[in-house]
C-alpha cells in the first residue's frame, strides 16, 4: 500500500490482521471470562490494598506518630513514595502526548494502558502528602478559599502549594485526555455487544461511549482535540516533576539546594515511568494475548528511551558530586560524602547500581530485544528509582546541622504497609482496567494498520 514510510522498516503489528481482527483481539478480554491467573493476581492485589487501607485508617485514628518519621527526618517514606509514584505517572502522558507530537507510531499499541497507569499512579502518589497532613479532614485548607481559620490566604510563594496546583491539573487533564480517547473505542465495544445480542452490556458501554457515532465531523473535532491536548500536556508533564523537584531545590538543606534538580527529576521520572510501563506491558502482552500488538520493536524503542534517560540520570549524579566538591561548601561536601560512605551507603550504592549500571546493558542489541532481560532490568530500574528518592530525602535529612540531633530512620510496619498497600491499589485498578476497558487504542491502531501492519506491508 502507498505509504511515505520506508518499506525496510519492520512492521509494528505482526500477524495477518484486518480491521475486524483488531476489534476481535482487543475486545476479547472484555467479552470473555477472566482466567485463573487473573483471579489469583486480583485476589493478591485486593488483599494488599485492604492491608494498605487498614494502615491508613490506623494512621488517621492514631496520628502520624505511628510512622518512623521523627523530628530530624520529617520527610521519609511518605515523600519518597510520593515522588516515586508521581515519577511513574509521567510515562503515560509522555507516551501519548510527546510521542504524538513526534509522530511516533509505535506509541499506539501502548499509549492507552500507559495513560491508565499514569492515572492510577497519580492517585497512589496523592495519598501520601494528603495523609502526611495528619488531619486528613482539613486537606481542603490547601485550596485558596476565603476563610477564618488562621493565616489568611494560602502562600503562593511556596512550592508545596505549586504542587497542589500542578498535581491536580496533571491528574484531571490526564484523566480527560485518556477518557476522551477511550470514547470511540467504547463505541466499538458497545456495537460488538449489540452484535453479540447482549443488551445490558451494550447499554453500559453506550453510557461510557457518550453515544459516539463516528461521523466525519466527530472525527474531525476528535483529531483537533487530541492534537491540542497533546500540545498542552507536553509542557504540563515537564512542569509537574519540575515543581516536585522545587519542593527540595528551594529549601536550604545541603543535598537538596541544587539547581540541577528540575531536569534531573524530569529525566528520572521518564526513566522510572518507562520502566514501570515495560514491567506491566510485558505481563499484559502475555496474559491478554497481545503478542501481535506489543512486539519486540515496541520493547526496543522503549529500551532506547531508558538508555537515554538513565544516562541523563547518571550524569546528574556525577554532576551533583562534582559540584558539591567544586562549591567548596563543607556542609555540601559532607552531605555527599555521607551519602556514599555514611550509614546509608547501601541505599546509595543500590541506587547507583540499579540506575546507572544496569540500563547501560541495553547498548547491547541482544539484551534490549530480549523480553526476559528487559523485564528483569525494568524491575531493577523501579527499585533503583525508589532508592534514589530515599537517598535524596532521608540521607540529606538524617545528619542535621547539630550533631546532637543526628538520627537514623527506621520504617515501622505502618510505613511498609501503606507503601505495599499503594502497590495493591495500583495493581487492583490496573487489573480491573484490563478486564473492562479496551487496553489498546483500537481506532488509532486501525488507522495505521495499512502503513504498519504485517499483512498490508509488502
Amino acid at each position: 500500500m502507498a505509504s511515505h514510510e520506508a518499506h525496510i522498516r519492520e512492521p509494528l503489528i505482526i500477524g495477518k490482521k484486518d480491521y475486524h481482527q483488531v476489534t476481535e483481539d482487543i475486545t476479547y478480554p472484555i467479552a470473555g471470562k477472566a482466567n485463573k491467573y487473573w483471579w489469583m493476581a486480583f485476589t493478591v492485589s485486593f488483599i494488599t490494598m485492604l492491608w494498605g487501607v487498614g494502615c491508613l485508617a490506623y494512621t488517621v485514628g492514631t496520628g502520624i506518630g505511628v510512622w518512623g518519621s521523627n523530628k530530624t527526618v520529617g520527610w521519609a517514606w511518605d515523600i519518597t513514595n510520593f515522588v516515586w509514584w508521581i515519577g511513574i505517572g509521567h510515562a503515560g502522558t509522555l507516551i501519548s502526548a510527546v510521542l504524538l507530537l513526534f509522530r511516533q507510531k509505535w506509541r499506539m499499541s501502548i499509549n492507552r494502558s500507559a495513560e491508565a497507569m499514569t492515572i492510577f499512579a497519580v492517585i497512589c502518589a496523592a495519598l501520601f502528602p494528603v495523609f502526611h497532613m495528619g488531619r486528613v479532614w482539613l486537606a481542603y485548607w490547601v485550596l485558596p478559599l476565603p476563610n477564618q481559620f488562621g493565616s489568611l490566604w494560602v502562600n503562593f510563594n511556596s512550592p508545596l502549594l505549586w504542587d497542589v496546583f500542578a498535581i491536580s491539573t496533571y491528574f484531571t487533564v490526564s484523566l480527560v485526555f485518556w477518557y476522551l480517547g477511550l470514547v470511540p473505542d467504547f463505541a466499538t465495544v458497545r456495537d460488538k455487544f449489540a452484535r453479540m445480542g447482549k443488551p445490558l452490556q451494550q447499554k453500559i458501554y453506550n453510557g461510557l461511549s457518550f453515544g459516539w457515532s463516528g461521523s466525519a465531523r466527530q472525527w474531525h473535532r476528535f483529531e483537533e482535540l487530541s492534537l491540542v491536548l497533546a500540545g498542552l500536556s507536553t509542557p504540563l508533564v515537564l512542569s509537574v516533576h519540575t515543581i516536585v523537584s522545587m519542593d527540595f531545590a528551594t529549601s536550604v538543606i545541603p543535598g537538596w539546594h541544587t539547581t540541577i534538580f528540575p531536569p534531573y527529576f524530569v529525566a528520572g521520572a521518564i526513566f522510572s515511568g518507562f520502566a514501570m510501563v515495560l514491567t506491566l506491558m510485558l505481563i499484559a502482552r502475555k496474559t491478554l494475548n497481545l503478542e501481535h500488538y506489543i512486539t519486540v520493536n515496541h520493547v526496543e524503542s522503549m529500551n532506547k528511551i531508558i538508555i537515554l534517560t538513565g544516562s541523563i540520570v547518571g550524569v546528574a549524579y556525577l554532576t551533583e558530586l562534582f559540584i558539591s566538591w567544586y562549591s567548596g561548601v563543607e556542609y555540601e561536601q559532607y552531605a555527599f560524602l555521607n551519602r556514599a560512605s555514611g550509614p546509608y551507603w547501601w541505599a546509595y550504592w543500590s541506587m547507583m547500581t540499579c540506575n546507572v549500571i544496569t540500563p547501560q546493558l541495553f547498548w547491547i542489541k541482544k539484551i534490549r530485544r530480549s523480553f526476559t532481560a528487559t523485564f528483569i532490568i525494568s524491575i531493577f530500574v523501579n527499585i533503583g528509582m525508589w532508592f534514589e528518592r530515599f537517598v535524596i530525602i532521608v540521607t540529606s535529612l538524617h545528619r542535621d546541622y547539630l550533631p546532637s540531633s543526628w538520627v537514623m530512620f527506621h520504617p515501622t510496619f505502618v510505613d511498609i504497609g501503606i507503601f505495599v498497600g499503594t502497590l495493591g491499589i495500583f495493581f487492583t485498578m490496573f487489573l480491573l482496567f484490563c478486564r473492562t476497558f479496551p487496553v489498546i487504542a483500537m481506532a488509532e491502531l486501525k488507522s495505521i494498520l495499512k502503513s504498519s501492519g504485517d499483512k498490508y506491508k509488502k
Partner: protein, 176 residues
C-alpha cells in the same frame, strides 16, 4: 417525490474516499460519513468546515491566566501582603517570579478543560446520548456514506447506481 436516505457501505476507506470524490465531482451532496477511525482527506471532499476548537482553547487558556493573576494579585498583594522569607510582596510584578508555576498550571487547566467541554457539547456527546451510526459495523471494520435525496437533484436510483459502480458492497435506503 418522497425524501429518502441512502446508505452505501464500503469495506475499505480508500475505496470510499475515491467513491466520495467521484460522486461529489458529479454534483452529489454527501450528508455524512461514518467510520471506525478518521479517514484522512475526507473532510474537504464532503465539506466539513475546519473546527475552531483550537481558537477556543487559546481563549480558555487566556482566561485561565487572567484568573490566576487576579486571584494571586488580590490575595497576596492587595488583600493581605505577607513577608515570606523577605520576598517582595508590595507589588505584583516584583512577586511575579513566584507566581509563574501557578499561572502556568491555571492556564493549562482552563485551556484543556474548557476545550474538552466545548468538544463534548459541539459533538453532542454525553452519558445517555443515543448513537447515530446507522449500522453498528461502522465502529468495527466498515465505512458508510450517507446521502439524503432531499439535498440532491439526482434521484435515488441514480445515486444508488453511482454508489454500486464505485465500489459500495451494500446499499440500503429508508424513508427520511
Amino acid at each position: 417525490m418522497s425524501k429518502k436516505v441512502i446508505y452505501g457501505l464500503f469495506d475499505d476507506e480508500e475505496i470510499l474516499l475515491k467513491s466520495a470524490k467521484d460522486m461529489v465531482s458529479k454534483g452529489v451532496r454527501i450528508k455524512d460519513v461514518f467510520s471506525p477511525f478518521p479517514i484522512h482527506g475526507i473532510d474537504p471532499v464532503i465539506g466539513v468546515p475546519r473546527t475552531r476548537l483550537a481558537i477556543g482553547a487559546f481563549v480558555y487558556g487566556a482566561t485561565g491566566l487572567s484568573l490566576a493573576w487576579l486571584m494571586m494579585g488580590y490575595m497576596l498583594i492587595m488583600d493581605w501582603p505577607m513577608d515570606i522569607g523577605g520576598k517582595p510582596s508590595q507589588f505584583f510584578y516584583m512577586n511575579l517570579p513566584a507566581f509563574v508555576p501557578v499561572s502556568f498550571e491555571m492556564t493549562v487547566f482552563c485551556a484543556a478543560h474548557g476545550m474538552a467541554l466545548t468538544y463534548l457539547i459541539v459533538n453532542r456527546l454525553y452519558p445517555g446520548q443515543q448513537p447515530h451510526n446507522p449500522d453498528n459495523r461502522t465502529t468495527d471494520d466498515k465505512f458508510m456514506v450517507q446521502i439524503n435525496t432531499g439535498d440532491n437533484k439526482k434521484t435515488a436510483e441514480e445515486i444508488k447506481s453511482m454508489l454500486s459502480s464505485t465500489g459500495a458492497i451494500e446499499i440500503t435506503e429508508k424513508e427520511a
